[in-house]
């Protein structure tokens, strides 16, 4: 059983995502971006490489400055989102990344370099990120 948040958890979800193309609803899974998820004071760097997710590791400060965008929300909200996915097999409407982003005053996705082009990747590939987190329904999770 993997604990959220941890490298093991993010990697287990990646392995599920990479092994089953039926989980890829957005663009046949094709996605080219490097993002980071900030959870409970730690940043996890994730590389989407075409139809696969590649390396996932803790981001260094320098790497963090160079990602396309960071998804950042309070731990409680991460937990609610992951729990909702676990319970329903995929995020219900109010727990999708789009809905959570709309519900937060400043949104949850930000480009560290204030680059609108890179920020827009969050929307251009939105379904891929949702597909990734929906894949966590198959990973037994503790918090």
């Amino acid at each position: 059983m993997a604990q959220f948040p941890s490298l093991d958890w993010f990697r287990e979800v990646r392995d599920v995502y990479n092994s089953d193309s039926t989980l890829h609803k957005g663009g046949g899974g094709a996605c080219h971006t490097t993002a980071a998820f900030r959870v409970d004071g730690k940043e996890y760097l994730i590389q989407f490489e075409g139809t696969k997710i590649g390396d996932i590791r803790n981001a260094t400060a320098a790497e963090l400055q160079d990602v396309d965008f960071v998804i950042d929300m309070p731990f409680g909200l991460w937990k609610e989102m992951i729990s909702n996915v676990q319970k329903n097999g995929k995020a219900e409407r109010r727990y999708t990344l789009n809905s959570i982003d709309l519900s937060q005053a400043d949104g949850i996705a930000h480009s560290p370099s204030d680059d609108q082009y890179r920020q827009d990747l969050f929307y251009r590939y939105n379904q891929n990120f949702q597909d990734y987190f929906d894949a966590s329904a198959r990973v037994e999770t503790t918090f």
């Binding site: 409407r93 789009n98 204030d114 827009d120 590939y125």
Partner: protein, 365 residues
């Protein structure tokens, strides 16, 4: 009926196996000409696929990758091909790079091809369920207006696309996908409106549509209205509709629509930023255009039927539309205006100090 006279030459018999083709010339068939065979501006090119396959951006090698600041050729000559003397000019009036270019266009073209979707079979239409009459009417009204947004985008892109030089073919290619995206959007919204017991609503007055369609000062001017003002607003509407989706069919439509719209905005913002960076005085021109555009956008927000229709969708009915639905709508518009200001700042045309009061008032939400 009289039999039309048959003209032309008989098709020569295929060269039989083992026969000498050169010796089998057919009487009456002219010899092929070969003068063109040695004519190429650059020969022997072998582009290799990269990690994402063989993309059009990868083809920019040697002379084929020389994208000039000005493309004087008014013919359909593909960039890198040899010109043929005597070809009459066509009305390609956009011949300077700053008038249409965006560095992202080639990649966005590939992305659009890769992320194509099929409303007929990929939208789970069976998930549609009857909605309360007021909500169904509001959804159908929203679909009707968004279809008009999409056909406006098609019309203005194709108007200018016709005038864009082939020296900047990456942009023409991308915009071809953008018009197809819009056609697909119309298809999906029309199907949504006609598949759940409703029908199309009433035509919107279309103040901003008209502003976009009447922008004739150049493609950049149209892009300012189409992407920076209308497109940014549309993005927020689509995100709001995904958030309020009643079923998986709507969820699928709006999730895809957001990604399509995001590509269009990426090109639009990128192009406007490029135009400002590469043409003296462009920022001042765009400031003036935005002053005019904000008035029209503000006026449309006041009177458009999309306002009450979205409020009803967000509020789950007329009653909710008067309270939480309208509040949600006003927040959506507030988010649009904040986003618009941020993008203007990034592009190089800060508007915070000059924002028209008709839009400024939404900043309180």
């Amino acid at each position: 009926m009289a039999k039309p006279p048959r003209g032309g030459m008989a098709v020569p018999a295929a060269v039989s196996e083992g026969a000498d083709a050169a010796a089998q010339s057919v009487e009456g068939v002219p010899e092929p000409t070969y003068e063109w065979m040695g004519l190429s501006a650059e020969w022997g090119v072998r582009v290799k696929p990269g990690e994402h396959g063989l993309r059009i951006g990868d083809l920019n090698v040697g002379i084929y990758g020389e994208v000039p600041e000005v493309w004087d050729d008014q013919t359909r000559r593909p960039r890198g091909a040899l010109p043929r003397p005597g070809v009459p000019p066509l009305a390609y009036n956009l011949r300077a790079k700053h008038q249409l270019w965006a560095d992202s266009a080639a990649n966005l073209y590939e992305e659009a091809i890769q992320r194509r979707w099929i409303p007929a079979t990929e939208v789970p239409w069976e998930s549609l369920q009857p909605l309360p009459d007021d909500v169904e009417r509001a959804m159908c009204q929203v679909c009707t207006e968004l279809m008009q947004y999409a056909n406006t985008e098609i019309e203005i892109i194709t108007y200018w696309q016709d005038q864009m030089s082939y020296g900047y073919y990456e942009v023409k290619q991308f915009l071809a996908t953008a018009t197809f995206d819009c056609a697909r959007m119309i298809e999906a919204l029309r199907k949504r409106a006609l598949a759940n017991g409703g029908g199309l609503g009433v035509e919107g007055r279309g103040l901003v549509n008209r502003m976009i369609l009447e922008s004739r000062g150049g493609w950049t001017e149209s892009a300012v209205y189409l992407y920076l003002i209308r497109g940014t607003f549309t993005m927020h509407v689509l995100r709001g509709l995904l958030n309020a989706a009643h079923n998986d069919a709507e969820r699928t439509i709006f999730a895809h629509a957001i990604e399509d719209q995001a590509r269009h905005l990426t090109y639009g913002y990128d192009h406007i930023k490029y135009a400002i960076a590469h043409r003296a005085g462009e920022a001042d021109i765009i400031q003036t255009l935005l002053s005019l555009g904000e008035v029209m956008m503000g006026a449309e927000l006041e009177e458009s039927t999309i306002k009450p229709a979205l409020a009803i969708v967000f509020g789950g009915g007329i009653a909710g539309g008067r309270t939480i639905g309208m509040e949600t709508y006003l927040h959506l518009v507030g988010d649009f205006v904040r986003n618009y200001l941020a993008v203007c700042e990034w592009i190089g045309v800060p508007r915070a100090e000059m924002l028209h009061p008709l839009l400024k008032k939404y900043l309180e939400y």
